[in-house]
């Protein structure tokens, strides 16, 4: 099935990124963020990027590396506490951050990814995280409307991909990746291992390949656990890669 082979190189991916784009990324504290694709994004030179992901990573892990370069314009995330540079940029007005409750954020990405038009919740009502979200009254009860999120490009990390893009994940590196994969107009997967179609058990496939446009091989990550870092939360922490 030659047409179903989506494996390509980072050189092919680089031009997919553009200034001002909306980029969705998988990962939770950097775990499950695709390290090679973050580097590819950095090398692409794009700026003014609108990021959507669980968090700002650490300054040397996950999307944190890109955020530290001051080339993200906005970030929708549930927290940025692990990346003090993101906090500095926010306080300096260089990065506009919209905080979302963690599970609500992944549901917003899912809502976009499954072609629905957003959902209602009580969570966050009356708090600063309400921003200007519309309120909707149903049967006399008021809820907050959460809009769906989709992106121009989604970048995702998987343990294994077959050449069609069927994906399986690894432990807590799964996190938001399945929904990020569904919500991108173009979804690019970085996989630790790329296998032939038929190698994955069809019951265990978490993301069917239908959502995946491109697959690149991972060269792995080389970061350290946070307590192994000499200067834990500094922007000057030595990048491992």
């Amino acid at each position: 099935m030659p047409l179903f082979n989506k494996v390509t190189t980072y050189e092919t991916i680089r031009p997919l990124f553009f200034d001002g784009m909306t980029l969705l990324f998988g990962g939770f504290g950097g775990v499950g963020s695709p390290p090679g694709l973050v580097d590819c994004l950095i090398e692409s030179g794009v700026k003014e990027v609108n990021l959507v992901g669980n968090d700002a990573g650490f300054p040397w892990i996950g999307m944190g590396k890109f955020i530290c370069l001051e080339r993200a314009k906005t970030l929708i995330a549930s927290h940025i506490g692990s990346n003090p540079v993101a906090g500095e940029l926010m306080n300096q007005g260089k990065l506009k951050v919209e905080f979302s409750p963690q599970g609500i954020l992944v549901e917003r990405i899912r809502s976009g990814g499954v072609g629905l038009n957003g959902f209602l919740t009580e969570i966050g009502m009356g708090t600063k995280l309400e921003y200007n979200k519309p309120r909707v009254t149903i049967d006399g009860k008021e809820y907050m409307y959460e809009a769906p999120i989709t992106g121009d490009v989604s970048i995702v990390y998987a343990r294994k991909a077959d050449t069609f893009g069927n994906l399986v994940f690894d432990k807590t590196a799964r996190n938001t990746n399945p929904y990020v994969a569904m919500a991108g107009k173009i979804t690019v997967v970085e996989a630790d291992e790329i296998v032939e179609m038929g190698s994955l058990n069809p019951e265990e496939i978490i993301v069917p390949g239908i959502y995946v446009k491109y697959i690149v091989p991972s060269e792995g990550y080389n970061w350290k656990w946070i307590w192994e870092m000499p200067d834990k939360l500094s922007r000057n922490a030595p990048p491992a890669k």
Binding site: M1, F4, V114, G115, F164, M197, G198, I205, P208, I210
Partner: protein, 210 residues
Amino acid sequence: MDMGDARQIIAQRAAREISDGMIVNLGIGIPSLVPDYLDPSISVFFQAENGILGMGPTPKENTDGNLSNAAGYPVTLLTGGSYFDSAVAFGMIRRGCIDVSILGALQVSASGDLANWIVPGKRVPGVGGAMELAYGAKNLITLMTHTEKDGQPKIVEQCTLPITTYHCVKKIITDLAVFSIIGGKLRLDELMPGTTLEEVRAKTGTTFYQ
């Protein structure tokens, strides 16, 4: 031409709408006959809304009670296929991951409205997944005999049966002709072999252009 022949002719023509690498969802009825006419040299993945991508042909033996298509008939899985739950199945459909959805129809209007889920007081199948397939598919093709058994046209100015989805049909393939719906207008693309333009005009319940 008897009804069985008409159905085969429609399915055979519909198979030409499917090309290499496509993701295809087939409804029940005439669409289920389409795979028999596919060019064997092309690779296609059929999606079934009960949770399969990469559905293969009916097994010759050893049917598995837990492996059927959306109509409840036994199928197989192709290499590289996957199983998933109903929410994932319809997520794909609404999100536009299906290249071509081929559905049966009871009526189609000149502007592409589809009616295919109920004949009040007579047939009550229910809507199933048709509304979402009609909403999400990149290309929606409907297959039907050109007229009812009593000669009533099924391609009409306005549907009289309850609507499944408005303005969704892109192509209509019948035993007499192939139409496209472009910008809300019905265009005749082809006459099926042995049919005349006059016959199609007479048996179509609305005007069309060529």
